[in-house]
């Protein structure tokens, strides 16, 4: 219980300290930020260990007539671990990336606040708490999206907040309906709507999926995501490739497995449409990505595609499919963050954002490009990397669920991913060396260290998936 409270509060407290701290030297503030992100991660790990050991940790209360509860279960804990661990990497990267940039205090304050809110989403034990944190996440990350304050940033920010809030509004309606049908919103125990009947359930599921689908960037609700890439790179990496978008995907997993229960969803006709929407998103996202010339935008569209991998695993309604979804959630996050970090280093050191002008950049930034190559191979889903396992179990789930075309879709998506990235890797080590700063100095070291470490972690998990397997197994056993 104490661990849970401390995990949730460490971000808030850190944010308050950073906000009220007098103008001091950057180094001290960085230390404070690092300290509180590490605290957040440490307490999340402690909560996780308790939950995996079978303990039920619960905080509950009343809010405006609704009872809310915070009650982590294996699924939430996995999400919390992914987010809080990656937050440390992003914080360290930010120290290098934000050096000499304006408005750092706001940046770090909201970065820490977002940590707390994300953990809140992960740990929430009923729909009310989930909804509150989900809304808060939009508000807390908005200042980070518009960090540049340029007209483009403001426009993207407006789009981001409009999309997210309308999505949340739809969720609110769905929650009200759920409450009126079941009279209970807790995730613990059986699924909330288990045993209900009626054709309206289809509509309810659609409402939920449209609502969470906005943040999970399900096509055609993905419009905000590519625009939100105007944010500083660590934010794009952490929030728009992992934390925020995962909260959407996490919401959908919750809806399917905790609100409806997979036995019920399986019978709804709407769930038979979903795999095709997801397959469309997977293919369309990566096809559009292949046509982008700005590296960050290419990564953004690819995010859209890969998020649907998770949803695909969910909608196979198979234990293997869910295992694949969780595995993909874990492994994809490390690699995508590392990819964005590489894009950030490239643009910081050479000022280059366009892929067609990155020829020969590997001679200037060898370590970065090696990390990018590793991550790119991971996006394709080749073997020595952790995403292979995600893909493998997703395919297994699709085949065993009798939906083999989805497995083929995954293979085709891998091929298009290869088409997306292999030219980037190959061209990077060809032709003349480009002009720019090399990989020397403390600024770039701060950015490189987390990037390389993430690549190594990915390879380690890829060679030894047993490290994360107990977590995946716990989630699958929880729901099946």
């Amino acid at each position: 219980m104490l661990n849970l409270v401390l995990a949730l509060l460490s971000g808030v407290v850190g944010a308050l300290i950073v906000a009220v701290m007098p103008k001091v030297r950057n180094r001290i503030r960085n230390l404070v930020v690092l300290l509180f992100t590490i605290l957040g991660a440490v307490f999340s790990w402690r909560v996780a260990l308790l939950v995996f050991a079978g303990k039920n940790i619960k905080i509950a209360g009343e809010f405006a007539g609704f009872s809310w509860s915070i009650n982590p279960d294996p699924l939430g804990v996995i999400f919390a671990l992914i987010a809080s661990s990656l937050w440390i990497f992003a914080a360290v990267y930010s120290f290098g990336y934000m050096e000499g940039k304006h408005n750092q205090r706001t940046y770090y304050t909201f970065l820490l606040l977002a940590l707390s809110v994300t953990l809140g989403v992960a740990f929430s034990g009923n729909l009310v708490a989930l909804y509150l944190f989900y809304e808060l996440l939009t508000l807390v990350t908005y200042p980070l999206v518009i960090h540049e304050r340029s007209p483009e940033a403001m426009k993207s920010g407006k789009k981001y907040i409009l999309y997210s809030l309308s999505g949340a509004g739809v969720i609110l309606i769905a929650i009200v309906i759920t409450y009126s049908l079941a009279g209970n919103l807790d995730f613990a125990g059986n699924a909330i709507l288990a045993g209900s009947t009626g054709s309206g359930l289809n509509l309810l599921l659609a409402l939920f999926i449209i609502g969470f689908g906005v943040k999970a960037a399900l096509m055609p609700l993905h419009g905000w995501l590519p625009g939100a890439m105007v944010a500083p790179t660590p934010i794009s990496a952490l929030l728009h490739a992992v934390a925020v978008v995962y909260s959407g995907a996490y919401g959908i997993v919750r809806v399917v497995y905790s609100v409806f229960g997979h036995e019920l969803v399986r019978q709804l006709s709407f769930s038979r449409i979903m795999p095709w929407v997801i397959a469309f998103t997977i293919l369309m996202g990566v096809i559009i990505a292949a046509r982008q010339n700005v590296l960050k935008r290419r990564l953004a569209y690819q995010t859209i595609s890969h998020l649907s991998y998770i949803l695909l695993g969910v909608f196979t309604f198979q234990p293997w499919g869910l295992a694949g979804a969780i595995m993909h959630m874990i492994s994809y996050s490390t690699l995508k963050v590392s990819l964005f970090f590489c894009a950030g280093i490239i643009s910081e050191q050479t000022g280059e954002k366009n892929i067609d002008r990155m020829r020969g950049i590997g001679w200037l930034l060898p370590k970065t490009m090696v990390a990018l190559s590793v991550a790119a191979l991971g996006m394709i889903g080749t073997m020595p990397l952790n995403t292979f396992w995600g893909k493998y179990y997703l395919m297994k789930g699709s085949v065993e669920g009798g939906m083999w075309p989805l497995a083929v879709v995954l293979v085709i998506s891998g091929i298009i991913n290869a088409y997306c990235f292999i030219p980037v890797i190959v061209d990077a080590f060809r032709g003349e060396k480009v002009q720019g700063d090399t990989e020397k100095g403390s600024k770039v070291n701060l950015m490189l260290a987390p990037t390389l470490l993430l690549s190594m972690v990915s390879i380690l998990i890829g060679l030894w998936p047993g490290i994360v397997w107990p977590g995946v197994e716990a989630v699958v056993n929880w729901f099946f």
């Binding site: 359930l201 369309m284 889903g381 020595p384 085949v399």
Partner: protein
């Protein structure tokens, strides 16, 4: 334990290379010699029928699993031998090419991953080393870092990765069809879901077929193999593509060699037969019109892989009587590896001295390089199937297998046999062309330097000795290594089949002589008439057709994307129009002077009534939503 030690030695070599960057010349030789000796003596007992296994226990879903049965042992010994030969050859060659250190590093790592593939005990371990091998051998292909090399490397990487993905899909499907993922070397599995199982085998064939250069998945091969430095090309052509064949044999193991396939899967064997024949034919036709010696050899790799795939197809088609096909395929894998490496090394010697691989610029070199010329002649005789050399042995077995299939099988198989002969003639013709243009004909005008070293010829000589040994005593290898392997794969009657086989009968010998004579005649005619310079128009080659198909798909996607963007944009416009319309309408409430909006007089409505109407509306909406039966 031996299996892991075998694999650890190349890794040790890598570490040694990394530590001693200045004095690395001897390391590859020492390492490969150790692995070869250890492999030869350690795996000798495996042929007795007792496989070695070793598991590295790891928690979680993935267990590193190693095994060595007789098939693995054949491949391991073959690959370590070839690596040994290349490590004698390459230091001198790489002095000429440059950046020898990085080449040796790739060579060591590739040896590690290749051993991993052959010793893998389950499909996922195999896939791990398969992907590692793709990445390490990629650096062979792009060794020169010029435009051509990078382009070829791009195709190599792309196709290999696609192959890996397809193999993954095959493994997944197999795992689902059989409940538990079958281990390699465990023989046939009984699937729970035969249809899915059949498809999984088909998927595996496509995936490994990419590696094996099976038509029409061979497009990457000639480019990648001809652009690498010659020792790299030799190993790529000699061994790396055999990994595809190895995978096919293992896939066949799951379906059961030696078992007449049920009705649901005969199409598999027929498909393999047809694809093998096509691969043979297209490879040799393309080889005939090449002017670059390395490209010619690379296309011949495609063609010879066709023989191997054909052999596997025959084996699968005939079931219990398919021993000839399968053993012919394995035998040909060994033989092709030997002579293809020798041929590449020979071309490399000429390249060191002249800096040229274009056949039409070479000529009359036998006076300057008599030893190389003789060693090349041995290799050429080997690949064309001249009696007395190793190629004759495996081609004869394959021919017997095809004849057997023709006698007992479907009528269309007669065409396979006819094309088999045509390909033999084509092979002879193209190598007559290679040899003639290189060593005879008009003397070359190129300047010839004296950078040679006897080590180059020693490496080639080593292979030539083995080739002559196999060629004169073909039964020895067949009975001591290949028959146990085939038997372990499930064809029980192989030893009786082979006992009836005689290599030195009049029919086979005369057939081969006729083939060779015809080949030389075709070569003579081709060189006189200039037909070898004739190229098909692009739209008729497979490359052109594939390009057209890819363009077509790209165009369709383009159109689809345009449509999609149009739809999204129009929705956006509709939304914008609606909101602006709505806003202006709502504003009318505030700004209306006449107090009339949409013809409704607002003066009569007080605030209370307005609120009442609004809340009633909300309640009605919510009520309908909450009572699904109304919807």
């Amino acid at each position: 334990m031996l299996l892991v030690i075998l694999m650890a030695i190349p890794l040790l070599g890598t570490v040694a290379l990394l530590l001693m960057r200045d004095r690395f010349a001897k390391i590859p030789f020492v390492i490969t010699l150790t692995v070869f000796v250890l492999g030869l003596f350690g795996l000798k007992d495996v042929f007795g029928g007792i496989p070695l296994t070793y598991n590295i226990a790891m928690p979680g879903p993935f267990v590193l699993n190693f095994q060595a049965d007789s098939l693995s042992a054949i491949f391991v010994i073959l690959s370590t031998f070839l690596w040994l030969v290349v490590s004698i050859y390459s230091p001198k060659y790489m002095e000429h090419e440059g950046r020898g250190w990085s080449f040796q590093l790739c060579t060591m790592l590739t040896l590690f991953s290749v051993l991993g593939i052959f010793l893998a005990g389950n499909m996922i371990t195999m896939l791990l080393f398969f992907e590692l091998m793709t990445i390490t051998s990629y650096f062979w292909v792009i060794h020169r870092w010029n435009k051509e090399a990078i382009r070829a490397g791009y195709f190599y990487l792309f196709f290999s990765i696609v192959g890996g993905l397809v193999v993954t899909l095959g493994i997944v499907m197999m795992g689902s069809a059989t409940d538990v993922l079958p281990t390699i070397g465990s023989g046939m599995v009984t699937p729970l879901n035969p249809t899915l199982f059949g498809w999984s085998i088909a998927t595996l064939i496509v995936g490994f077929g990419i590696k094996a250069g099976m038509v029409p998945l061979h497009l990457w091969l000639p480019h990648a193999h001809s652009v690498a430095p010659t020792p790299g090309s030799a190993l790529l052509s000699g061994l790396i593509i055999k990994i595809g064949a190895y995978g096919l044999i293992r896939a066949g193991e799951f379906t059961g060699w030696g078992i007449k396939l049920g009705d649901s899967m005969t199409w598999l064997a027929s498909t393999l037969l047809i694809l093998g024949t096509l691969t043979m034919l297209l490879g040799v036709l393309n080889a005939l019109i090449q002017s670059n010696a390395k490209k010619l050899l690379a296309y011949h790799s495609v063609s010879q892989m066709g023989y191997i795939i054909l052999g596997l197809g025959v084996g699968l088609y005939l079931g219990a009587d398919g021993g000839l096909g399968l053993s012919g395929a394995i035998y040909h894998i060994i033989n092709h590896a030997l002579f293809k490496v020798a041929l590449f090394l020979g071309v490399g010697v000429i390249y060191i001295h002249t800096g040229e691989t274009n056949l039409y610029k070479l000529g009359g070199l036998w006076r300057r390089f008599p030893v190389t010329a003789i060693l090349m002649l041995v290799a050429v005789f080997g690949i064309t199937g001249t009696p007395g050399l190793n190629g004759y042995a495996s081609k004869t077995i394959l021919h017997h297998g095809v004849s057997l299939a023709t006698e007992t099988g479907a009528p269309w198989l007669i065409w396979v046999e006819r094309l088999f002969m045509v390909v033999g003639v084509g092979t002879a013709a193209s190598f007559a062309k290679l040899y003639y243009l290189m060593f005879f004909g008009k003397p070359t005008e190129l300047k010839i330097n004296d950078e040679g070293s006897p080590k180059l010829q020693i490496a080639m000589g080593l292979i030539a000795v083995v080739m002559i040994g196999i060629g004169t005593r073909p039964e020895f290898l067949l009975n001591s290594a290949i028959a146990p392997a085939v038997e372990a794969l499930g064809i029980e009657n192989i030893s009786t089949t082979l006992a009836h086989l005689s290599f030195w009968n009049f029919h086979d010998l005369s057939g081969m002589i006729i083939t060779l004579t015809l080949g030389i005649l075709v070569c003579w005619g081709g060189l006189k008439s200039g037909i070898f310079h004739w190229h098909l128009p692009t739209y008729m080659t497979i490359e052109g057709i594939v390009k057209l198909i890819v363009r077509g798909i790209a165009a369709i996607i383009q159109i689809g994307l345009k449509g999609y963007v149009y739809v999204v944009e129009s929705i956006h416009h509709i939304g914008e129009a609606m909101s602006s319309r709505l806003c202006s309408d709502l504003r009318k409430f505030d700004k209306s002077k006449s107090s009339t909006v949409f013809g409704i007089n607002l003066i009569g409505i007080t605030a209370d009534v307005a609120i009442l109407i609004l809340s009633l509306g909300v309640i009605i909406v919510l009520y309908t939503l909450m009572n699904p039966s109304l919807l």
